[in-house]
């Protein structure tokens, strides 16, 4: 059996994964705060047929070793936390983060999750919650009669009732040393992992944190043109590996034809 077949099959599998990831990026092109993913591959074991050889003991020149690689495998799928473009919505409780940081929200089991999706609404008890119903942390309660809610770039939430401005609280952001190590929970939320590091919290506009933009939402950082060209490249690479399988197969057929 031609061992190159398996090598090419691993290449086809890798390109399939690439297309799957691109498809998910494209499916989320309009998801608020979505961050695109990128697949990273690595080569696998090498069979060393012969090690490096010294041609002539008096001459330090060596011949390189002869090594045959056995294909490719997935190294990791990385989320790229680059900034998405802010989009104007005009809703007072839509907030985009321009720069570093995540909103902190409390999940049903009491743990904290992190999100860039600032589509907030008010709950029946006056708490500020995400579109999924999770409370923004630290808790900020808005009185029932509050009007003209304002959220400043530095995160201060105010209400303005007939000329008097009252401060209701301040939004706190969290940031991570390695945001691509965060785990996706769905619903645009992430949880911390050993790879992401511990969250560092701070107010917006403090050193290292972004500012808040009220009445805006962060669109996804998926660029359709980029994804489409990547898709074409992946499709061609898949075809090339399929051709390599075919070439290996033809060689086997030729060998089999030796016996009459």
């Amino acid at each position: 059996m031609n061992p190159g077949l398996r090598t090419s099959a691993s290449g086809m599998k890798a390109q399939q994964l690439m297309v799957d990831t691109i498809a998910n990026n494209l499916a989320n092109v309009n998801t608020t705060g979505f961050k695109r993913s990128r697949v990273s591959f690595e080569d696998v074991l090498y069979e060393t047929l012969q090690g490096a050889q010294v041609v002539n003991p008096r001459d330090p020149q060596t011949i390189a070793p002869v090594q045959i690689g056995k294909g490719v495998r997935l190294a990791s799928i990385l989320r790229l936390h680059t900034q998405g473009a802010p989009e104007q919505t005009g809703r007072p409780l839509d907030v985009a983060i321009d720069g570093e940081g995540f909103f902190q929200v409390q999940r049903a089991d009491g743990t904290i999750a992190y999100t860039r999706d600032g589509t907030f609404t008010m709950s029946d008890t006056g708490a500020i919650v995400t579109s999924g119903g999770y409370r923004l942390q630290p808790n900020i309660s808005v009185p029932a009669d509050a009007q003209n809610l304002g959220i400043s770039p530095s995160g201060v939430i105010t209400a303005n009732n007939g000329g008097t401005t009252t401060e209701l609280g301040r939004v706190e952001l969290a940031r991570f040393v390695n945001p691509s190590g965060l785990m996706s929970l769905g619903e645009n939320m992430y949880s911390e992992t050993a790879a992401s590091g511990q969250p560092v919290t701070g107010a917006p506009q403090e050193p290292g944190f972004g500012r808040l933009l009220q009445g805006m939402l962060e669109s996804s950082n998926v660029e359709i043109v980029q994804e489409m060209t990547d898709m074409i490249a992946a499709q061609r690479a898949y075809e090339i590996n399929a051709k390599a399988v075919q070439a290996g197969e033809d060689m086997m057929t030729a060998t089999n034809g030796l016996i009459r």
Partner: protein, 230 residues
């Protein structure tokens, strides 16, 4: 002599099937960051008339692809990053680095990437990796990544997962020619079109050898079956 001819054709077949494997591996890795292609050529062994495989590692620079991820590093120039594996120090062309639970900067396999003072620990702050390898967290310099190379690339062996083993001592890379780029990865230096052409050539050469073998087998058959007949 026909028997020698059959042997030569068989050696040719074995050479071309290895060449096909190497080409298949180069093509399987057309999307692998930091991958360097292997080039196999045939060389006539002294006193014979069949090719013996000779390989060299093509260390040509791959294109850079911007990702915007802070822990993606690409190298330009002849240098390598140094990682510490349980088997000893290994060289790598960078790529997508990670942090382990202790905050150490590691390669995709969890091997620490070494700076001049050993593993680099990043626990908080914005990571900045400068072109000379200086790693900063929130503008405070932590360490400088070791950039090394070898005098003779033929002494590098591939270990898989993007790592290279050097049989000779590594030397510091020349910082004038080697630099790091944060937020980018190095694309493989393979050429899919050349690979396809190679595949076709290999396939045809293989069939030609098979045909030659068949022809010589036919001659032998005639010799054994007909000439001897009275």
């Amino acid at each position: 002599m026909t028997l020698r001819g059959i042997l030569n054709a068989a050696h040719g077949l074995s050479y071309y099937s290895r060449l096909q494997e190497v080409t298949a591996n180069n093509l399987a890795n057309v999307s692998t960051d930091g991958f360097k292609v292997d080039r196999m050529t045939g060389q006539l062994a002294p006193g014979t008339s069949y090719p013996v495989p000779v390989q060299h590692l093509d260390l040509a620079q791959g294109g850079l692809r911007e990702t915007g991820r802070e822990l993606d590093v690409a190298l330009t120039g002849p240098g390598f990053l140094v990682v510490k594996t349980p088997q000893g120090e290994r060289l790598t062309r960078g790529g997508s680095l990670h942090l382990d639970p202790a905050g150490q900067l590691v390669d995709p396999d969890g091997n620490p990437v070494l700076g001049h003072n050993g593993p680099i620990v990043l626990t908080a702050g914005k990571v900045e990796i400068q072109s000379d390898g200086t790693v900063k967290a929130d503008d405070v310099a932590i360490d400088q990544l070791r950039l090394e190379t070898v005098a003779d690339p033929s002494q590098l062996r591939k270990e898989g997962t993007g790592r290279f083993v050097s049989d000779a001592k590594t030397i510091p890379a020349d910082t004038a020619t080697t630099s790091l780029r944060q937020g980018s990865v190095e694309e493989p230096n393979s050429d899919a079109i050349l690979g396809m052409i190679d595949l076709v050539t290999i396939q045809r050469a293989y069939s030609a050898n098979v045909d030659a073998l068949k022809a010589m087998d036919g001659v032998l058959g005639t010799v054994a079956g007909e000439i001897g007949r009275v």
